[in-house]
């Protein structure tokens, strides 16, 4: 049920390579006494080298759980990875031991979180936190690590890093802390950066700065990125490929242009229409109803309840991602209905 490599024509190189990250049928559950919540229900996703995959979805769609499952950061119990594989640089991360996994997290595969205030230790100088990984994973001496730390801070746009290296997090603004967190992630020269809503807690002018920084760093270092956001516009500006998640599943995957110009899933269509933008006229087209509870198992399409194209089949036929056009896959049983109605 995996989607075949999702490449655009301009990368003949990548088209032949195996993807850098290959998530296959990942299932993550949260168990409590009263219910089992399936937060990721068989998620498959591929990230080519050097590219950005945007994951868009509303709260509870499972996008953050996906990132945390890839890195195996979810506490178990209550979380349990109940199935699937996560291939990264030739290894299935789900089979690694604790030490090996820590090594991967500290070097090749890094993650940054939404709230920079809570991702740093408040009672430890920022500089030391940035260089901890260099000392632990790369065995750099204190002095060498500091030199590299200063370089990193310079790279992420912190002015006069020398005088700020020993500051504590409370002394920095949210935007600066997010830069520090990015510097920390870049310390190991990762091949993949998972960025979970990296600009959601920031003001729009600071978001603009952080996005410019991420795009710039990515182009300079050729790392790949998974950028999770609820904001379609952020995804549009930064991603090569977009995955749309809903109720713990990937509903649609496509090259960014195709997704915005010719969406093949009714949920994507609804999401695009709900977002106000310059051309929006009087009313927004909202999606009726609410996302389903993840503790109830649905046989058919999880979006069927809210879908204006749905028919009986949608409620009782299991849906899987199917490739429709080159690199464009949709989990909709009847994507042709969109075209007919959308005209």
């Amino acid at each position: 049920m995996t989607v075949t490599a999702l490449m655009q024509d301009e990368t003949p190189r990548a088209a032949t390579d195996a993807p850098l990250l290959d998530v296959r049928g990942l299932v993550t559950e949260f168990r409590s006494r009263s219910a089992t919540v399936v937060a990721n229900a068989s998620v498959s996703l591929q990230v080519p080298r050097g590219r950005t995959v945007g994951i868009v979805g509303e709260s509870g769609s499972g996008k953050s759980v996906l990132c945390r499952s890839i890195l195996r950061l979810l506490p178990s119990p209550p979380a349990r990875i109940a199935g699937g594989e996560v291939w990264f640089e030739g290894r299935d991360l789900l089979t690694l031991g604790v030490r090996e996994m820590a090594q991967v997290r500290g070097t090749r595969l890094r993650m940054i979180f939404q709230n920079p205030m809570t991702s740093l230790n408040p009672v430890w100088p920022i500089g030391d936190q940035i260089t901890e990984g260099l000392r632990v994973h790369y065995g750099l001496s204190g002095h060498a690590a500091r030199q590299r730390g200063l370089e990193l801070l310079q790279q992420v746009g912190i002015p006069s890093p020398e005088s700020r290296f020993d500051d504590y997090p409370f002394q920095w603004s949210g935007g600066m802390l997010q830069r520090a967190v990015i510097a920390m992630a870049m310390a190991g020269e990762p091949s993949l950066l998972l960025a979970d809503e990296p600009t959601t807690a920031l003001d729009v002018t600071i978001q603009d700065q952080i996005l410019a920084l991420l795009v710039d760093l990515q182009e300079r270092t050729q790392m790949a990125m998974v950028l999770v956001s609820h904001d379609l516009a952020v995804i549009a500006e930064t991603s090569d490929i977009v995955a749309v998640m809903y109720a713990g599943r990937v509903m649609e995957v496509a090259p960014v242009k195709a997704l915005f110009e010719q969406p093949l899933h009714p949920y994507t269509v609804g999401l695009l229409a709900s977002t106000p933008h310059a051309e929006t006229t009087d009313r927004l087209e909202s999606i009726p109803g609410q996302p389903p509870s993840l503790s109830q198992r649905t046989v058919g399409c999880p979006f069927a309840e809210r879908c204006r194209f749905a028919s009986k089949d949608c409620h009782n036929t299991p849906v899987t991602l199917r490739e429709m056009v080159d690199g464009h896959a949709s989990a909709c049983l009847f994507p042709e209905r969109i075209g007919r109605a959308g005209a």
Binding site: V204, D208, A233, F260, S274
Partner: protein, 351 residues
């Protein structure tokens, strides 16, 4: 930190016959910064953070004024001060011709029936122990606006008004979704049939598909009930969608105000221009640009001299560091607080 009282050109001369429902003139609101032990020993006078700094504007009847700005710009403080949830240091707030400052407790309570607020966070603005019906009924009871035997019916009516079923009334907020809670907050605000509503980031905590539902509901209610609104938000696209006119705040001041079209299509102030360029666009093309505005918003404890925006302004010159710009009328309806703002000639009409 002295404030030059601004001449009242913040508001354009009335071109419409519409009546002003709310008039704000030279409003200043500040909060004391808490002092630490050292400050007390040294007997330093308490510093005051100026959250709203000499703000003037009016809202016409049935109009929606959008208020945008980044965190710390003072937009929430301004919204709350209008309802006298905070007391201003100086300045005037006139609502339907009445000066809010002069009102006693009882009069204020009566006036608050006409002006209500919906808060951003639907999770913390509802009492978790109350059922939805109790939350709404409390307002009706406190203001004594409806006979006891009619309360239940009125609650059902209000829930229907905001698109909720009467069955929701028996539930507690904990069992509701964010969108439903925000609708409850709205029903509570509408319970007293207000004429003026302050909406403080009403959709910031909601997902886009739910946000669209709530925005549509707000538009419908506004038209149906003839509401006048102050719509406070940081998300510019939402403000554009909802507002007739827009005011842009930066460090406690309204740096620009104008019709929605003027602000979004012909912004005059460099901050407005930068803010608009910084919004990501729904266009699937990889961004190639540098960040538009460099630096960060300075602390409100240390507001820069002259024009508060000058350290980040791409157009700043000598004068901007020393002289505070006065509001300049760019058009009949657009006012910009920039030294370089120029009245724009109307486009020559081409036939």
């Amino acid at each position: 930190m002295t404030v030059q009282p601004s001449p009242a050109v913040d508001e354009a001369p009335d071109t419409q016959p519409a009546k002003a429902l709310l008039e704000v003139d030279d409003l200043v609101v500040s909060f004391p910064k808490s002092r630490n032990l050292l400050d007390l020993i040294r007997r330093r006078p308490p510093l005051r953070v100026r959250a709203v700094n000499s703000v003037s504007f009016t809202i016409q009847e049935h109009e929606t004024l959008g208020l945008v700005g980044e965190s710390g710009s003072g937009k929430t403080t301004l919204g709350r001060t209008l309802l006298r949830l905070y007391d201003p240091d100086s300045g005037k707030i006139r609502f339907a011709g009445q000066e809010l400052r002069d009102l006693g407790r009882g009069e204020l309570k009566a006036l608050r029936r006409q002006m209500q607020i919906v808060f951003q966070d639907p999770y913390s603005s509802l009492n978790p122990r109350f059922t939805v019906a109790e939350t709404i009924a409390e307002v009706l009871r406190v203001h004594d606006v409806c006979p006891r035997e009619e309360v239940q019916a009125r609650v059902g009516e209000l829930l229907g008004l905001v698109g909720l079923t009467a069955e929701i009334g028996a539930r507690q907020p904990g069992t509701l979704s964010g969108g439903q809670r925000q609708r409850v907050g709205l029903a509570r605000a509408l319970a007293l049939k207000p004429t003026f509503l302050v909406l403080d980031e009403p959709v910031a905590a909601l997902d886009v598909s739910i946000q669209a539902q709530v925005l549509n509901l707000l538009k419908d209610l506004r038209d149906e009930l003839g509401l006048t609104m102050l719509f406070v938000a940081h998300e510019l696209s939402v403000v554009r969608h909802m507002s007739d006119r827009v005011a842009v705040m930066y460090l406690g001041q309204i740096v620009e105000i104008g019709t929605t079209t003027e602000i979004f299509e012909r912004p005059s102030h460099p901050y407005t221009q930068g803010l608009l360029k910084a919004i990501p666009r729904m266009v699937p093309e990889r961004r190639r640009r540098e960040a538009v505005l460099k630096g960060e918003v300075p602390s409100p404890l240390a507001i820069p001299s002259g024009c508060p925006f000058h350290p980040r302004c791409p157009r700043a010159e000598e004068i901007c560091t020393s002289a505070e710009p006065r509001p300049i009328a760019v058009s009949g309806t657009q006012v910009s607080r920039c030294h370089f703002a120029e009245p724009k000639p109307l486009k020559p009409r081409t036939s």
